[in-house]
Structure formats: C-alpha cells, structure tokens
Symmetry: D2
Subunit: 334 residues, 4 copies
C-alpha cells in the first residue's frame, strides 16, 4: 500500500504512524520529494482499512498495490478450484450447464422441464422458489412449496438443484438443496454471506448490478472467511446507460476473474440480456471466453411463464444452444 | 399501458387476451395500422406484470403510461406526508437534520458527539451499530452493544435515534430505536422490506447505488403495502463512471421525488461524496433544491474514526454547515 | 408513435394537431380512458421530432414504436451488406481481421508489423496517423507523414489500410486511404459524418464511450443519408463504473446490431479492455457471438510503443489469436 | 508518480529506466519489499505518458499522485480567473446568467426573447445556430444565418452572445461572437480545441456526457496550452443508468472543480435534466453550491420550439428562477 502524505505533515504524527505500522508487521519506506512525500508499506496489508488511513490528518490519499482478498486470490492458490455437486463437477476444465425455469410454478411444469433439460445435457436444475421482484404486486414465488417441488424434480431426474435464498430465516428450508444461490441484489447482504460461510454447501454468488469485480471477490471472501470455500461466481450483467438490453453482459469479467481467482466462473445470459434471442450468441461467446459454466432459463411455455418469460428459451431452443456451446468448448480460450 | 402487437398476430389469441383484460376491469382499445397494431389499456394497470405481457406470443413490446406504485404516489395522495419522531417533524415544510458518527465506537465518543450535534441544532442522532463493510476484515460495528449505547445517548440528550438494520433476525433489537434505516445495499432486500411494513416505526430507506427513482419508490411501496406508511426516502449518491467522488449525488432526485411522491426526501451528502470538504456545498445545494432534511456524518476526531473518517465533519464544521443550511432554507425551491 | 395526452387537454389544440399529422400522411387514432388519453400515429414517423412533440401543451409524453433510422434498418434491407475493400470482403459471412500498431511511428516499424500481420492472416492494416490523446502533452501522431508511411506499407504488402480522421480539414489527405475510421470521440461529430456521407469510401464508425446502439445507428444514418452506404460499425467498449478494464466490451451489441441493421459489425478488443491478456478471449468470444470482423492492435515491441502499449499484442501473440479465432468461426452463432 | 514493478523485474532494465527518468529531471526512489517493489518519481511528471510506462516489461502498474494538468491547476494559480465579456464578468465572485433559446429560429423570436431575458437580468444571450442533433432528419439549425440573427439581437439589446461551434471550418463565422461554446459531444474534439487555443475569445467548454472531471480539465488544458486562458467550464449532466431525467446533473462537480482549478464553472440545468420543472430547483442548488453562473434555455413559446422545448422556460418562468437564484446567492457556499 502507498500513502501519499500531505505537504506539511507533522513529523511527530508520522513517527507514531510508522510505529503503529511496525506493530502490525508492516515495513514502512519513506520517499521524500520537493512537493510530495510517499510512504510505502511492505507486508500483508489486506486487513488495513483504507478509509481509516485516508482520514488521518497527515494522509492525502492511500492506494492499494495488492488485492484486498486472500482466500479467493489465485496468487495464494494457483490451482483451479473444482466443486463437486453429486456427479457434476465445475471448474478446472469441467464445464457445467444449469438450466430450468425462472419460477417454479407447478410439479408438472417443473418435472417436464427438468426432464427436457436433462435430455438436452444440462447438469443441474435451476428454479426460483423465492423470487425477488421489484414490485410488491408481482408474483413472489411458491416459496417453501417451490423447494418441495424442486426436491421432487431432483428425485425424479437425479439432477442436483440450484435455488435462491432471499433471507437468512429461510436457511433451514435449504437443507437438501444442492447449491444455494445468492442473487445480485443480495451480493452485499453481508449477514447472509457470513452465515453461508458456516454451511458446507456450494454457493452460487451472483455479481451485483453495480458491483465491481473486486467487490464480487470481497463478497466471496466473506463466505470463504467463514470456512466455506465452495463459491461459484456468476456474471449476470451490469447496469449501464444502454437500454436495448436489460443489463450489459460483461464477458471480459470471465477471463479477468479467472486471472484473479481460482474459483469457478459461470455466466447467466438470460438475466443479463433479458432477450431470448440473445441467449445463444451470448452462451457461445461466454464459453469461448473461458467460462466454467452457464445458467440458462428454460420454460416449456415461455409465453405463459409467471415471470421473466421474455428471456426464457423453449426446451428445443435450449437443446440447440447446448449443442452450439459444446461445439465451441474445445476451442475456448483458457 | 400500451401493448404493441407483433405484425402477424393471431386474432384468436388477441380475443383471449382482451377477454382476460376485461375480467381484470381493464378496457382495451385497438388501433390498427399498416405495419403496427397497438392495444391501449385503460384502468388500473399497476398490478399487471409487464414482463409477463412482453413474453406473450402476440406482444412485441409493452410500455407503461402510469406509474406502477400507488401508496407512494402523489397523484392519489396530494398532501405531503409529515412524519413525527418524538418532537421532531419531517416533511410538509418541516426540515430535519440527522447527525452523528458513522460507527458507534464507545459511550464517551457517542455521548460527546450527541451533545455537540444537539447543541448545533441536529434534530436526530445517527450512529451505526451494525455496519455493512465491503471487506470481512474491516470493523463490523459494535452490533447490539452499539444499540445500547445509542439508547444511552438518547436518554442523555433526548435526541431520537436512527440506526441501520442489516438483517431481519436483528429486528427485536430495534424495539426502542426511533427510526430504522435500510441501507443502500438492502434497498431491494424484499423480505426485510415486507417485515418492516408490519412495524409501525418510521423507516429511512436509502436509494441503492444503481437504483432508479422508480425502483426506490417500488421499495417504499413494499413497506407501505404492509401497512406502514412512515417511509422517509434518502438520496445518497449513485454509482457512475466518475471516480473523483465516491458516488455521484443526484440532487435532481429531490424535486423529482417530491413531484412523484408525498413522502419526505432527505439527502446524505457524506456518503454520496465521501469527501468532507464537499459536505457543506452539497448540504446547502440539497436544501436549496427542496430537500426535507439532511443526514450528516459527524465525528469528534475524524482522523481516528473506525470507518469513513474521510467524509466526517468535526462538530465545529457541522455547526458551520447547519448555519449555512439554515440561511438558505427560507429561499429553497419548493 | 404513441402520444399520451395531458389529462385536461384542449380539444381545439388536439384538432389542430391531428390535422397537422394528416398533412404529414400520418393517421392518428384516439383512445380515451377515464384518466388517460392516447393518440396513436400510424405511418412513417421516422422524421418526427420527438422532443418537439413532447414540448407541446397538450402532450404528456411521446414514445416511439418504430426505430428512427431507415437506411441502416434491416427491416427495409433484409440482406447483409457486404463491403469490398480491394480483395477483402466484410459482412454477409465474410470475416475480416484488421491489425496493426496503435500509432504509426516509423517506416521500419510499420512495414515490419504490416508484413508480420499479413503473414498471420490479417486482411487489412490499421495504424494511427492522427491520434486523439486525452493530454495535450502526449504524442499526437505523425499526422500526414503517418499517412504517407501507411501508403508505403500498403504498396509493400498489398494490404488495404484503415486510419482515423480527426477533422474535416484533413479529408484530402485520405484520398488513397481505403477505409476511413471515425473514432469513438467523434461518433457524434455530425458535420464530419455528413461530409463522409458524400465520399464513396468505406467508413469504420466506432461506437462512442457512452453511446447507445440506437445513437450509433443514427450516426450511421447521418453517413448513409448523404449517399454513402458503406458503413462498418465497430463495438469498442463502453464506459461503466467498472475500473478493472479500461472500458466494458459489450459483446451483446454484436447480435443485437445484426438484428437491427444489415451493416457489418466488427469488434475492437484492444481498446475495449486495455489489457493485452484479454485480447485473445475477447476475440474468440466476439467471433463466436457472430461478429463480422476484429480490429486488433499489434506492435513489434509493445513495451516501447509510443501509445497504448499495454493493450498491444506481439506479432506472435496476434498469430496465436488469429488461429484461435479461425478455429471458433465455423461454430459462430449467426 | 508511483510505478509498481513486476515481481521478477530485470535489474538492468530498471537501471536503464531510472537513467531515463533522471534525464527528464525526475528523481526515482526505490522501495523494495518481499513481494512488491515500488519506484516513486519525484518531479514534474505531468508530461509522462502513463500508458507507455504501463506497457514496459518491468512495470506492473503506474499511478499518478499529481494531476496531469498544469495551466488549469489551482495549485499553480491560486487566484480565481475572472473572465470579462463586454461589461459582464464571470468568476472570482462574479455570477453570470446566460439565457436564450435552444435554437435561433427567426429575428422576431430571438429579439423578443433577448429583450425579455435582459429585462429579467440575464447577462449574456445564448442561442443555437449550428445544432448537433442525434437524427439527420431533425432540424439542424439556421447555421450562418443564425449567427447573423444573434448579432442583430446583440446590437439591439447590448447583450454579448454565446453560441456553439460544431466544426473548425466554421470558425471565421464566429469573428463577432463573444463566447464560443464547445458542446458536450465535442469536448474531446482535440483538433477543434487546439485551434480555439489560438484565438483570444472566451470558450465555454461543456463536459462530455461520459467525461470525468479530469478529462474536462485536460480538454481545458488543450485550449490553454495554445495560449488562450479564457476557458469557462460547464457542467451539463452526465449519462447514468437513471432514465427519469435526460442526464444526471452532477452538482458536486461545482465545488470539486473549484478546488482543482481557478477557471469559472457554470451549470446548465436545462440540458442536464431535460425537464422544465426541474430548472428552478437545480438552478438554486447550483448557485448554493458555489457555481459562477448558469446557462438556461428560455423560449417565448416552448410548446412550439423547434428543438428541446420540453426543457425550456417561458420568460416569466425565467424571471422567477432569476429572482430565486439572486435570493440564494448571498448564502452560497464558496
């Protein structure tokens, strides 16, 4: 970390500060210029609070040189993390496709889709039981009944299930869920992240609509700091000024995250774009860019889906996407 | 609401759709052109799910003409809502200043600041007990002990207290808190909002970093739909490409929200800018633009604050800001 | 187009307005509801000024149903446009790679790179003669001498050349240039676009840093309205809050533009990301998503390039990217 | 400037680099740690090309400590710049209001408005002769005839005139124009800026829709580097995800720019918001925040304005805004 000192800093305050750094096993190096004095800190600065440092009387600004995350950092864990979910692996060259409806609506709907996506090659079944909706007047999901239906579909098809948690108080309902999803709006629900760090379930952590990659990794760090290292990162589009798509899918996040972290990275082209016709090109693009998996919305009747139908594929379309992705995978940039 | 139909839409499907709308007391009007057919819907469309409509086979796109919020809508409630908190009023021409430290650190710290901000004219005391921090390694707040200290400071000074809730499971700790704050990262924590709708406490709802004003109002609607109409909206900066300030304070949100809703609107210049020197100009600007109040961070020793010191004012600076705001208030644009 | 009228609109003003629309061969349809009255316009509304309509006394808001661009619109020109540049074709299934240095620095530098990128399979040579730089103190390009060197390299290698124009007054220097590039900062330099519409040279039009796809297409429309239909669109990253990459490459723009327009779409991963290690994954992703070409920075000694070295590839790296792209192309989603 | 070196940097390359810095009168200071080596540079680094440094083999990253602008920098020019335009002064405590129509439409229209805004207290007359419009089919302005009409209105009222230049080739038409405006879309039209640096006319430089404050100051630096120090900066809203206003007015830019530079800063609330009802609250907010002036659109018949009517005020409304601003000015935060 680099601290730039104020022009007329107090020498005594600097002495106190450097003494304090030494207590924390950080070695300070001073560089004095005509107008600018710089204090470099050598050592593990990941637990220093940059806001606090910047608020000090003698400090003009502080800049990190090293990433503030450790457990998620590839520097300290060079091998890809491989997460096993039943027979499915994700990461380290294993590509997994998660598919299913936006919302769980009925046993018939869910089981039909589950069998269809399994036949088309999906490795995991997704389905929303608890649904975060912008409007209190929109369908909020079947909630605990939805989880029961997912477990039935799992029993029937053998597909492990992925579903979203919206509040800590529901955690006990997720006992038999295979992968717990943290949605974009909860990416910085730190109390939830901490508690999930004490489970031993894989967590699918979606990037917030306006979260930087560093913030996403810090949220993964919250889970990992609690002892749960099974975190799957999910790029699902960020909010920009462009209105032609629901969000802007940041595919460059895939190779960049893969450089920064050993955790697997999947892409959700359905929520990112909000347009079913874009799911195929964005799926093959994500696979080509080195993603470890995809999360795709599939509905047996998209025109009657209770939510987000506009972005869902039919099972036939999903099968077509899966084939296109499989064709590109051998040539992916990894 | 306006539905644009696809060019070769099925007449039978249209009949079914219009019948369904009529069941919902919506009157459909069809306008057919050479290339475009438009279906206008007259009636209360606030509970229609626009995503579902757009996913229908015969629908090209759907556009709302009316706002999707009702309880928060000024059209149906033209008078300003006035919220009373102890002796303090906010809204309807009553301007309130909330001040205090980012984090509650100790009884001495908190009580000292509380007395100083009271002397300077603050109407409410703020202080963080539960602290949302990007890093799991940063100070997370004194938690329930912090709330105890806030209650002590309240007893000593008489100032009502405002503090942030981070998880539903902590709600019972907030029994004697006067105003419950929902932070920017929880603005769309819908389970939390629903539960707060069943309390009768004023809720200070902060705008999310990438939330539109309509989304902010929909989150207020979640609380109000549960029966709690005491919602105070708080503009605290949005995330943009600009890096010179922590966020971009959207002061135009103030008059715009005041047109759209009857709820009071306060501004937090401390978090918005992250720079203590900008707190004064942004406070007078917000007051001039018609805000109903301000929320300002004050610390007795900003250079040693455990978090966010860079944006805190000293009590003397706060007193100076308060005077500048009082001078501008009579000339505010309301 | 849809006009929503104000609640108590003047009937006489409405009559005048509908008469005016009929004069313009637009057929107005009125839908009256309890609170909302809607005026639908059937016909070619592409030349209506939406701002002017919204400013009218009786109009609450106006919304377009149809795209405001015509010449660039795939609806009126379903076949892909194929642009021929010497022996190279771009569009309609023809994929072209444009490669070369950020800045032209010397004859030796340019000719060496030109031969290397040609050997690796590039179809066109790029090189900056006029350089838009944020700082007046940074290297501004060799200007007309740079164009002379590009022409020498063209003569030597046979590669057609692409170079950027920064001001209308330089147009005569571009007589022998094969493709004129309009940079992101000039995407809405309308006087320049109009004049380029009167040339018969292919124009490579880069998307502005904060331009929507519709604005990009409207800028293409400026060129096409002048008679020049040879416009190549270039996605080169948009400005977002993310700071880990220079810009955010919006790959979803590729399939979306291909739906909206018949013009070829190329992608510039070098400027979009600003990071050389991301050029390969983003190149294969763009190809997989259906792009018609790529524009890649190549330098024989990136560590000494006079500008933008951090994002340049060596000729060896470029050759590796070209092979990876060629492998993916047969499986692209088009 | 700080350079972070790569972990296994070549000692010989470092020697060459430090020698090169010494030639440029920069003093390098090395700080070596276990994992990180930092090279601090003391001296005037404003002319160093940060991109080039980051591309060097041994450099991991480079960070500026000092601002890259000099002529515009308040550090080297602590006094406010005061610009005189006829009898009007702007900057250094002098507040100026520029008002007039979006587009010049006719002599009658312009002269009527000019007299009305003068009567209401405007110091300068604005009016668009050359109009940048997104669509080639929208009204493009009266061009040179528009400038003639502005000069007539100037003669009649004595108000100095402000109007926008869109291309260098029109410069001779601006001989009698008092203030040349550079629009947001041309903020980085560097060839235009350079040429304006050789005139001796005040330049009103608008911030680009996605330009940082540093980029705005670098564009001012382009003009000043040519010898013309009469630059007025104009905040006019930035592009964000929010769609309720046309752009987001960044009022915090006002006090921040005033800290960074000695140049006057004005605010354009009309273009920023695009909503006439927001012009008054945003005008008083900008004045309260310390702006040196305002630029406001006024039209005698906003409902028939040929462009941007939705954001224009009537002369009566303008007079009301002017009075509200005058009332707040004595209490502005400066």
């Amino acid at each position: 970390m680099i601290l730039v000192l104020k022009e007329n800093y107090d020498k005594k305050q600097l002495e106190n500060l450097t003494a304090w750094f030494r207590e924390k096993n950080l070695e300070p190096h001073l560089t004095e210029g005509a107008h600018t004095t710089i204090l470099g800190l050598i050592g593990d600065t990941s637990k220093l609070d940059i806001d606090m440092l910047e608020s000090m009387d003698i400090v003009e600004s502080a800049k990190r040189i090293q990433e503030p995350f450790k457990s998620a950092n590839r520097k300290f864990h060079p091998e890809d993390t491989v997460i096993e979910i039943g027979d499915v692996k994700i990461g380290g060259g294993n590509f997994a496709v998660i598919a299913g409806p936006c919302s769980v609506e009925s046993e018939e709907q869910l089981c039909t889709i589950a069998e269809q996506v399994k036949a088309a090659g999906a490795g995991l079944l997704r389905g929303g039981a608890f649904k975060p909706r912008t409007s209190p007047y929109a369908f909020q999901g079947l909630r605990s009944e939805g989880i029961d239906l997912l477990l039935k579909a799992k029993k029937k098809t053998g597909l492990p299930i992925v579903t979203e948690i919206m509040d800590l108080s529901h955690l006990s309902l997720f006992d038999e869920v295979d992968v717990i999803q943290v949605g974009a709006r909860n990416m910085q629900n730190f109390e939830l992240l901490k508690e999930l760090g004490h489970t031993n379930k894989p967590i699918l952590l979606k990037r917030g609509l306006s979260s930087t990659l560093q913030e996403l990794l810090m949220s993964a760090e919250y889970i990992m700091a609690g002892g749960n290292e099974k975190v799957i990162l999910c790029e699902r589009g960020i909010r920009t000024f462009e209105t032609a798509t629901r969000n802007t899918l940041d595919i460059s996040a895939v190779p960049l995250l893969r450089q920064l972290t050993h955790l697997p990275v999947v892409v959700d082209p359905s929520h990112a774009t909000g347009i079913s016709k874009l799911v195929k090109p964005m799926s093959v693009a994500a696979a080509a860019a080195g993603a470890d998996g995809l999360m795709i919305e599939v509905h047996n009747d998209p025109s009657r889906a209770l939510c987000d139908g506009a972005q869902s594929l039919t099972p036939e379309q999903f099968s077509d996407v899966k084939k296109a992705v499989d064709a590109v995978l051998p040539f992916a940039s990894r």
